[in-house]
């Protein structure tokens, strides 16, 4: 079983559209949406929920006002400035529990926090594991880890060849959680100065965690000079550019319709993605695109 995670560094480069297309192209796979705080893959795959599980993670301090004698020690020691006037500001509490351990009157308890849900669903393209982090919650990295673990479990149980994950933007906690230990990172970039800058950083994260990376330049024709520079940037780092996808409004139209691009249009975008998937999956090239 191979695990392919689609990342980008910069947001809005087309990760979810690409994953939607791969969902339709790859034969034997489970899909995972690891962008747990702004998940969009379900809008293309239209899942029907089969299983919903609560995600409990982290803790939040609570002060029992009857026991508190207002000594102020908790306030003084809290590094997250989460205690003011002997009240816990939940949005700032990181759940470390130092206040609970030091409170001389044992007035502080740590309460479990329900931070979201994760789901196993069925789609026309196969099983999908996805999640919804509660608004303004922490621990998105841990929820991503749960989604990946469940996706791998489904793949093993059903003897599927691939786990294909839609990753979050950025390079921090949820990205690291989506990436570490994956077989391949497919990095979707765009030929803008920001895109090039962000690609460099996400390539650095892949290197740091020893995950092989390959690059797909989306909307390559909006600035062909930048595309050329992106290709050079990749070749200097011995990273393959596996696809150059042109800009086509059909991609947005397919999103509005709620279907993967490869099922909406047989234009250049679809042909390029089909070729890309053949290259990634190692299938032989030559036959005409679907």
């Amino acid at each position: 079983m191979k695990e392919i995670v689609v990342l980008s560094g910069k947001g809005g480069t087309g990760k979810t559209s690409i994953v939607g297309a791969l969902a339709a192209l790859a034969q034997s796979k489970v899909l995972a949406d690891c962008d747990v705080d702004a998940a969009d893959l379900h809008l293309l795959l239209r899942p029907s929920e089969k299983m919903r599980t609560e995600f409990w993670s982290g803790k939040v301090a609570r002060i029992d006002q009857d026991r508190c004698d207002e000594c102020g020690l908790c306030q003084e020691l809290c590094r997250f400035h989460a205690i003011r006037d002997f009240q816990v500001e939940e949005a700032s509490c990181e759940g470390c529990g130092l206040c609970h351990h030091v409170c001389p009157t044992e007035a502080i308890t740590m309460r479990e926090n329900m931070a979201g849900h994760w789901f196993i669903s069925g789609t026309r393209y196969g099983p999908l594991v996805h999640a919804r982090l509660g608004i303004a919650q922490e621990n998105s990295g841990k929820l991503v880890a749960v989604v990946r673990q469940q996706a791998r479990k489904v793949a093993e149980e059903q003897a599927l060849d691939y786990v294909i994950s839609d990753g979050p933007p950025g390079i921090g906690c949820p990205v690291i959680s989506s990436l570490s230990g994956a077989s391949l990172a497919l990095l979707v970039t765009e030929p803008t100065l920001s895109g090039m800058h962000d690609l460099d950083r996400v390539l650095g994260v892949c290197r740091h965690f020893g995950v092989p990376a390959t690059v797909c330049i989306n909307k390559y024709d909006i600035n062909e000079e930048n595309t050329r520079q992106t290709e050079e940037q990749c070749s200097r780092q011995a990273v393959d550019v596996v696809a150059r996808i042109p800009f086509d409004n059909a991609v947005t139209e397919s999103i509005v319709r709620g279907v993967p691009i490869v099922e909406y249009s047989d234009g250049r975008v679809t042909r390029e993605i089909v070729t890309m998937w053949r290259r990634i999956s190692g299938a032989s090239e030559g036959s005409s695109p679907a």
Binding site: G12, A38, A91, G97, V102, L133, A136, P169, G172
Partner: protein, 350 residues
């Protein structure tokens, strides 16, 4: 004495005097907007008077506007950089890039960097001679960042939140704290814009401490524009906290709409008022606009899908620099935001 031109917005003022009606004290959290001063403090509750001359005394409450989106790549950076540049002719403006995982504002501003600070979090260092391997540190650590295996104590700096529980609670006082570098903050200037950004070190997981360091540099007397990372979780909350207003940038697609609704929930949770900038109008469908009107969220500015705008963006040129005709639109955007903040402060005082 300073004449306040019509259509000029001077921000939120704390203290000072208004002349023109004789000398009228301006109470706390009064707002000067469009040639009028809204006196909302306790001295003169909720009265509006015309004003010609103002003796300003800048301090305290400045205007802080965050630019967020939920979905990535909708145009936060475009809006943040153009808003800052448009305002910089008339106002002191700070631009703070809090998207520390992928900061891009500098690509468009190319500011001269004049200062730099390393961001560290305190992580434990164990004195093996004092340690009795009692395991207390491992028991109290909520993040599994310290473990005791036989006679060895292992620490995992990438997991550590720097809470200090292990060192404070170690009965042998065997744990001290050392700084672990997780990022940098840099600052400088481009024309009239004071610039600050943070950069999370590649391989590090925790953005919020870097964001906190960037925000420590908000000076509280200028207009501060905060570029927020995408998403809805802890880094986003950390960046938006303390804002007077949040501009949500979205695009008219189902992805844009889905993530806009999440972003609206996030800012509501933080009790920060918001409005929408619709970017790439013309692609997709009308559901974002419908959503905004159903939920009484003002659409403050619409930027069309335009090849020229996309080209400027791809070359790292700010919209108002490449197409100066957009400047007035960003000034109007700021006026609308100011009016909404004034309105809200007035109703909050009632």
């Amino acid at each position: 004495m300073e004449r306040v031109a019509n259509h000029d917005v001077a921000g939120i003022w704390k203290g000072g005097w208004v002349t023109g009606l004789g000398q009228v004290p301006v109470a706390d959290a009064s707002v000067l907007v469009a040639g009028q001063v809204y006196l909302t403090g306790e001295l003169l509750p909720a009265m509006i008077c015309p004003v010609r001359n103002v003796v300003p005394e800048w301090s305290g409450n400045s205007m802080r506007i965050s630019i967020a989106s939920g979905k990535g790549g909708t145009g936060k950076t475009l809006v943040a950089t153009s808003l800052a540049l448009a305002l910089s002719d008339r106002h002191h403006v700070q631009l703070l890039d809090c998207d520390v995982e992928e900061p891009n504002d500098h690509v468009f501003l190319r500011p001269e960097i004049t200062g730099r600070e390393t961001v560290t979090i305190p992580v434990p260092k164990v004195n093996e001679e004092k340690c009795t391997h009692c395991r207390k540190c491992a028991e109290v650590c909520a993040y599994n960042a310290i473990a005791v295996l036989g006679n060895r104590v292992l620490t995992f700096p990438q997991l550590c939140h720097g809470c200090g529980a292990c060192s404070y609670l170690c009965p042998e006082k065997a744990i001290t704290e050392v700084g672990h570098e997780i990022g940098t903050v840099e600052w400088g200037r481009f024309g009239g814009v004071a610039f600050v950004h943070g950069r999370l070190t590649v391989g590090e997981a925790m953005a919020p401490p870097v964001i906190r360091k960037v925000k420590e540099r908000v000076n509280n007397y200028d207009i501060a524009i905060v570029d927020v990372p995408p998403g809805t979780s802890c880094p986003v909350v950390e960046a938006i906290k303390g804002s007077d207003f949040c501009i949500l940038v979205t695009e008219p697609t189902p992805f844009g709409l889905n993530d806009l609704a999440l972003a609206v929930e996030t800012v509501q949770e933080l009790a920060v008022p918001c409005g929408v900038v619709l970017n790439r109008a013309g692609i997709g469908d009308s559901r974002v606009v419908d959503y905004c009107s159903e939920n009484s969220i003002p659409v403050l500015l619409t930027i069309p899908l335009d090849l020229e705008i996309a080209r400027l963006y791809s070359r790292g040129i700010a919209l108002v620099a490449g197409m100066p005709q957009w400047k007035s639109s960003f000034l109007e955007l700021f006026d609308m935001v100011t009016e909404l903040v004034v309105e809200r402060n007035r109703s909050a005082k009632r």
